[in-house]
Amino acid sequence: MLASRLLSALYWGTELEITPLPFDRDLNLQELLAGVSLERLGGILKALLGGDFRLLGADGRRLLGSEEPYAQPRRAEIHYDLDLLGQLESASADEARLSAAAAMIELMLRLSARYHMAAELHIETVHEDFAALQQKHAAMMESEARYKALSEELEARVREQVKIIESAQRQLYQAEKLASIGQLAAGVAHEINNPIGFIRSNLSTAQQYVSKLGALESVMQTGNMAQFQSAWKEAGIAFLLEDFTALLGESVDGADRVTKIVSDLKGFSNVDQAEEEIVDLNDNLRFACNMLAGQTRDKVELVMELGDLPKILCFPGHLNQVFLNLLLNAAQAIVDQGRIEVSSEVAGSEVHIRISDNGCGIPEMNLDRLFDPFFTTRQVGSGTGLGLTVCRDIVQAHGGRIEVKSKEGMGTTFTVILPAG
């Protein structure tokens, strides 16, 4: 109790100098006379009582009047409500005067009590209001601080989340690219194996031819022309030379094909630092189809119907990625045996490239979301769902668009539309 008083006194310190006391506590005589000029009261009582008097508190202590106790005083009690607050003593006054004086003091005390209670109740309520105000203020400050901290934390979390998403997206793009490069590598390997195979076999034939020619060398050294001629014939050198020439020509063609594949491959491999080139998109389509055919020959029948296209300025590597991606999707939509049709044509000022399959098709409810990042209908783990998003981004970067038509169980057609000019 004392501690809390002290605390509240400290707390109020400068704002309010008063620590409230309970307004309803009982007051003693001294407290009730606190506002009265005792000097004047003493003078009045002396005059009323016709001489000296003593005013004592409930505990018998003198508050006003003579210091010396009287030998045989007359006494009148002073009450306030139910309490005896003190005594008025006089040596000179008679009974009536004394009780009248006491009654007058009681009247005064009553007024004083009213004043005290009203004042103290007032202080108590003001104090209370102020405390409530302080409390409200503190609560407001606290909630403001909480709100601030929360919003800061939220902002930090959002930043963090954005960072995570950005890096995840970059990783996924990267993974998608790697995946299509992997697909590509398989196709490339197949394409290159073929020419390398026959170049290799041609070369070993050439080795045999060279050693045959070497055997004729020793016959020629003898200088016997007739013997040399018959050996020449016997060895079939005329055919050998003819075949040798054809075989070298074939090998040169094969090497050219490898060179072409490798240069096409560059379109994929340096996607990031690609430069714009003027190309015939049909070449890109053929290349992508070859890539696919290498892997799906026994499952998919690939039909190309390529119309004449104007050459266009584009990033061929990027578009190769789009075509390969769409072709891979088409192949994946075919479960057992199926057909993929690739066609190209000019329509007005646009180039239309259509890739259709007769595979499983896409449910209508999924069509709208097809190009959304991370949307995939395939099993978890088999695709990032970024493939079509990347395709759309690339085509849009070329000023074009991708359209899709599909019917479940019937197949899907993707149309890549690019400006012709």
């Binding site: 309803d24 009982d26 139910l82 009553r110 009213r114 209670m117 109740l121 309520t125």
Partner: protein, 217 residues
């Protein structure tokens, strides 16, 4: 909380008449002043009224002396019922040992009654008392008004049937039920005082003696 003053050999108990504006709290106190005849009875102190409405409080002191020579003093307070005087109401309510809730029986006053009762519950908690253990009597006043204007006893009893507090029907204006209300409150207040101060053991004042001494019969 009742005060125990060893020096002056005095126990002081505070009872508060609470309720909506104009329900008859001040009238209750005035009737009690007329009706009761305890050993000691002070004058009613009315601290400021304006057009009949209490601004601070009314106070009626009652008391008696125990056989052991102690003064038992009851201070009956009213609060101002007007909504605006909530700070005063709260200050008057603090340290109370028991409460009479004076409700106005008029149908038109049911919202005011409900709000005042909720305000009582809130303020009891704000001043650090325990509402569920606080002695409380609910008085429905102004029963003398025309039947059409007031809730019937049945309606009121039904509404309050789930509550633990005694209900008293009164007409403070004519003095009916006023004494019974205080009686019911003292019945609840006594056990707590007895526990705290040993009224029976130390002062030889049992419950009946206590109540008769306060009411003066």
């Amino acid at each position: 909380m009742a005060e125990f003053d060893e020096v002056n050999r005095k126990i002081t108990i505070k009872l508060v008449y609470y309720g909506p504006a104009q329900s008859g709290k001040t009238t209750n106190l005035m009737r009690l002043h007329d009706l009761l005849a305890p050993d000691l009875k002070g004058e009613i102190m009315t601290l400021e009224t304006q057009n009949d409405r209490t601004l601070f409080f009314d106070l009626l002191p009652l008391g008696f002396r125990t056989p052991s020579g102690w003064l038992v003093k009851l201070k009956l307070f009213t609060v101002p019922g007007q909504v605006a005087h909530d700070a005063t109401r709260k200050a008057v309510l603090s340290r109370a040992d028991g409460v009479v809730f004076v409700a106005d029986s008029q149908r038109s006053q049911s919202v005011n009654n409900a709000e005042a009762f909720q305000n009582l519950e809130e303020n009891v908690q704000r001043v650090g008392m325990d509402f569920s253990h606080m002695p409380l009597v609910v008085q429905f006043n102004k029963r003398d008004l025309p039947e059409a204007q007031i809730f019937s006893e049945n309606e009121i009893r039904q509404r309050w049937s789930q509550t633990p507090w005694p209900l008293v029907f009164s007409s403070a204006l004519v003095g009916e039920g006023v004494r019974e209300t205080l009686f019911k409150l003292l019945e609840q207040v006594y056990p707590a005082l007895d526990r705290l101060f040993g009224l029976q053991q130390e002062h030889d004042v049992g419950q009946q003696a206590f109540i008769s001494a306060v009411l003066g019969d």
